[in-house]
Subunit: 343 residues, 2 copies
DNA sequence: TTAAATAATGCAATCGATTGCGTTAACAAT
DNA sequence: ATTGTTAACGCAATCGATTGCATTATTTAA
């Protein structure tokens, strides 16, 4: 029924040479004469031979596979990161096994185990773990398999390899921009502040308030899932506030645009009554009415840098105990949802 | 330097049993007594043993890996499909190697080869090939490895396993909806019509025209890359037309929204002067001003159905020579960019 | 108590490619 | 002609888990 696998032994038998010779010929080992190499190449093609990467990886303990774990892959930001990763990996002769954790620490751990079992050469994680030190990567560290965190990094990030932006600084800029226009009641709608990125954004928000001598009110910080649904719920809740906030800093664009849309439906003028700032620079944030002020977050670059860092670790026999941090540049894009002339 | 791998032999040695016993114990083979099984389990945990999936796959020729090839992974639609795939695969004990072809047939072929080398159990492809029969999957067919095409399927699709929507019908409905409001100059902006999905959308467009007794004008069909940039270029070009078209059917939302945005900037009223219909139902198509009429395209479902079909083929020793086609339901979402009361 | 049946475990080959080391062949040097 | 060098290739072990077919230990039946 199933066709037999075609192996180097088959080629060897067909040409009356040893499997060793075939193996060497196929990878251009210098000890094989041009003539036999040619013959073998030809025969391999003719027989439809395809190398068995599993066998090769088992023997050499090198899989040319990188594992990726993300909370979910279908956000504009994350899929952009992954696209960058795939491109960079592919260019370097690697490929990706991508898994989703769905914000579950248990699933993240299971994923890590599976990737370990498959002997990935390296692991890239946007962690969903809120514990200071994610324990489930121990086996990787023990075997010296490089692990790089990106975007969502662990609390004690300076011990690990990380690629991120300065979320605190970005949030600080966004909030300050709102305060600069004289707004005083700035609502912050964010995600789980156990997660590093949201924690830092919150810190930036607080810092900007304090610097402007505005009191911090924890009632003005809402932790949500930042989804479209959360946006709808938040919008409703905002409508019940009195006084209304006069500005909102939302921790992602999806949620920001949803909120903006629903507030407008309720007759609220953006930015006149309420200014809104998002985060991520999703493609359509530019095309909403009004266009959304947001933080431009370099997804593709993050993916590429993450892969490059891991491949770098792979190629240099690194003995550095400490992790390396790469902090990418972001940009505050001031658009119509905050009515300020540029600077 | 590197810690030695911990294998079943190490566990066997530590407990004075054979590796065979350890292997069986770890997979709950009934022939192993509860007692030894317990001991082995415990020891494995204690020693930090992690199964080597490469060795296992080599021996059993079952990798529990599925390959995926897509043109690019960072569109809203595609990442949604992939998210569905990853979820479904993971639930079934499989995982995904995802690769991008970047619309290059050569890259697609290379990717297929690599996935074959890695002995994936099945392959899922959104093909970029415009040739009637994609030859680069031959090795898979020869070895009876299931291949399922989704979204972008080959020309002779009825010979293969496919999961799609009826693009012709969807385009027909979209175009007809425009014509129903009395529009006569309907521009169709689409992608490479060598690709099946765009070809079929074009056919649907033509069919609707012909049914309404409107002449088909090939100058009213523009093949573009459907990107944001293409949208900008198209918008400029539209502004030079006289008379202006009174309706546009764009083959994706990204491009549609860009065009709408730029036309509005030039003072054109949507939908009063020009109606616009998109395709895909990207998340923000609902939040644009005006909201965009579009075709709702079930991405996640497509991913899940594709994986399920492949796993189905994997589990049943299929001898069907012909492929199976799954056609998913789509929906025309009538919104503000076409000024028609529902129905 | 002993044969028969069943339960538990071990032996050794296998999956396919790789590679250190040893051989053989070919050619050059003396 | 003999030895020394290279060049070209083969042998066989190895990576780690699996599994058909023994073999041994334990029960059960008679």
């Amino acid at each position: 029924m199933y066709k037999k696998e075609i192996t180097i032994y088959d080629i060897a038998a067909a040409l009356n040479v040893s499997a060793a010779t075939v193996s060497r010929a196929l990878k251009d080992h210098p000890a094989i004469s041009k003539k036999t190499r040619g013959k073998i190449r030809e025969k391999a093609l003719e027989m439809g031979y395809q190398t068995n990467a599993l066998a090769s990886s088992l023997r050499t303990s090198k899989s040319y596979t990188l594992g990726v774990i993300v909370p979910r892959l279908n956000s504009n930001f994350m899929s952009t990161v992954l696209a960058g990763m795939e491109k960079a990996a592919s260019d370097a002769g690697y490929h990706l096994i991508i898994m989703q954790s769905f914000e579950s620490e248990i699933k993240e751990k299971e994923n890590a185990q599976l990737l370990f079992s498959h002997r990935v050469d390296g692991l890239m994680v946007s962690t969903t773990s809120t514990s200071p030190e994610p324990a489930h990567f121990k086996p990787f560290f023990a075997k010296n398999i490089p692990v790089v965190f990106f975007d969502r990094i662990p609390q004690k990030y300076n011990q690990y390899n990380c690629v991120t932006i300065d979320n605190r600084e970005a949030a600080w800029q966004a909030t300050r921009h709102l305060l600069d226009t004289g707004k005083t009641r700035v609502l912050h709608i964010t995600g789980n502040t156990g997660i590093q990125v949201y924690k830092q954004r919150l810190e930036g928000y607080k810092a900007a308030l304090s610097e402007a001598n505005k009191p911090f009110d924890h009632q003005m910080v809402w932790e949500t899932g930042l989804s479209v649904e959360d946006g709808e719920i938040s919008a409703k809740r905002i409508m019940t506030m009195k006084p209304l906030p006069d500005a909102i800093f939302v921790a992602n664009d999806t949620c920001a645009i949803t909120i903006m849309h629903h507030l407008q439906k309720n007759g609220i003028k953006i930015p006149e009554q309420i200014e809104i700032t998002g985060f991520n620079n999703d493609p359509f944030s530019e095309f909403s009415k009004p266009s959304l002020t947001t933080i431009n977050y370099p997804g593709e670059e993050m993916g590429i840098k993450t892969v490059n860092l891991i491949i770098d670790k792979l190629n240099t026999k690194h003995i550095e105990p400490k992790g390396k941090q790469i902090v990418l540049k972001f940009g505050l894009l001031i658009r119509e949802s905050t009515n300020q002339a540029a600077k």
